[in-house]
Symmetry: C2
Subunit: 204 residues, 2 copies
């Protein structure tokens, strides 16, 4: 393969990724606006500016698109988590920022989708472990922060597994899937205060 062939292969691959991304963005937009069930493959193709036949080269059916959207969200979370753990800067500030970033992402999804419950239902149907997977990434990330804290002497945590579990349940109220009719929307400043309290407690 010549150099120019390789370059061409690479740019073809990039073009394909770009098109795939365009499709997912179009799909997300329509799902948020009309819900999953009312969005057809034809609608997604039109929104992405593609022929429907082209769309089927990328995704077998709508479930396949829903699954890819869920995986894209999970990929973002994984990247944020990896970055937060590996970044320069004070441990507790990074940990807090990670939690608040997740809070903002969840709040954005919850409040911008008028079909949030239906979308969540469809996602869980095509990927039954979706919520547990999300929780697992958080669990592993918190444990990595604890390990860093133990190494640097910043945190003194006797039982990291238990402390992680207590911490994640303690902030769970701030991550509802749906808006609640009875509860106010959780506030970031309150969550920040709670995270601070835990950091102080782990630091003792």
């Amino acid at each position: 393969m010549s150099l120019s062939d390789r370059t061409s292969e690479r740019s073809k691959g990039q073009l394909k990724d770009q098109k795939r991304n365009d499709i997912l963005n179009a799909a997300k937009k329509l799902f948020r606006k009309y819900g999953v069930k009312k969005t057809t493959m034809r609608d997604i193709a039109a929104e992405a500016g593609l022929a429907v036949g082209t769309l089927y080269l990328y995704f077998e059916n709508r479930d396949d698109v829903v699954l890819a959207c869920a995986e894209a969200f999970e990929k973002i979370h994984k990247e944020q988590a990896k970055k937060a753990v590996a970044a320069e800067g004070e441990l507790s500030a990074r940990l807090k920022e990670y939690i608040l970033t997740r809070f903002r992402a969840a709040a954005e999804t919850r409040t911008s989708d008028s079909h949030v419950a239906e979308i969540a239902r469809e996602v869980v149907r095509v990927r039954p472990t979706r919520l547990q997977d999300e929780s697992k990434i958080m669990q592993e990330t918190i444990l990595k922060f604890f390990a860093q804290g133990a190494e640097s002497g910043r945190f003194h945590i006797a039982d990291p597994q238990r402390a992680m579990m207590v911490f994640l349940y303690s902030i769970a109220w701030f991550f509802p899937i749906e808006k609640s009719e009875f509860m106010p929307e959780p506030e970031e400043s309150v969550l920040a205060n709670i995270v601070d309290w835990f950091i102080e407690t782990w630091s003792k």
Copy 2:
């Protein structure tokens, strides 16, 4: 007033309380089975074995019955809280038992009412501060436990107001108003473990 008159007055009062209780129990049963809106004053009277005219001697209308039911629940909570704070026995065991008793009460309401959302909505309509009132009782009760712990040297809490706030948010996930489509029912054993963790932390 002669002694026999006074006795008769007292038993009339007791009879009235008894009848009022019977009405509330009948109403609760019907609300849980059919919801509030589908239950009429006539239904409540029939279930309580009273003429509807007699029912109106006790309650002006259905909203008045709903309000009385909510107040009965609140009274039970207040009594449980008072008893837990005043009881003999080890402080942390009493505190834990208080929380788990509230958990059981909430779980029972949530899982036994098929119309729990509608009932909650009606209660909040006739008594808009209902959920905040409930939360306030818990806040005050926890602060009383903290004061006991400070006095006996059992707890070492620098900022009781903040620790109370963190604790109540930390267990809030275990007290949803409605069953969730996406979340599993909270488990008592997990809550117990979290309460234990906080008690250990306050004891350090």
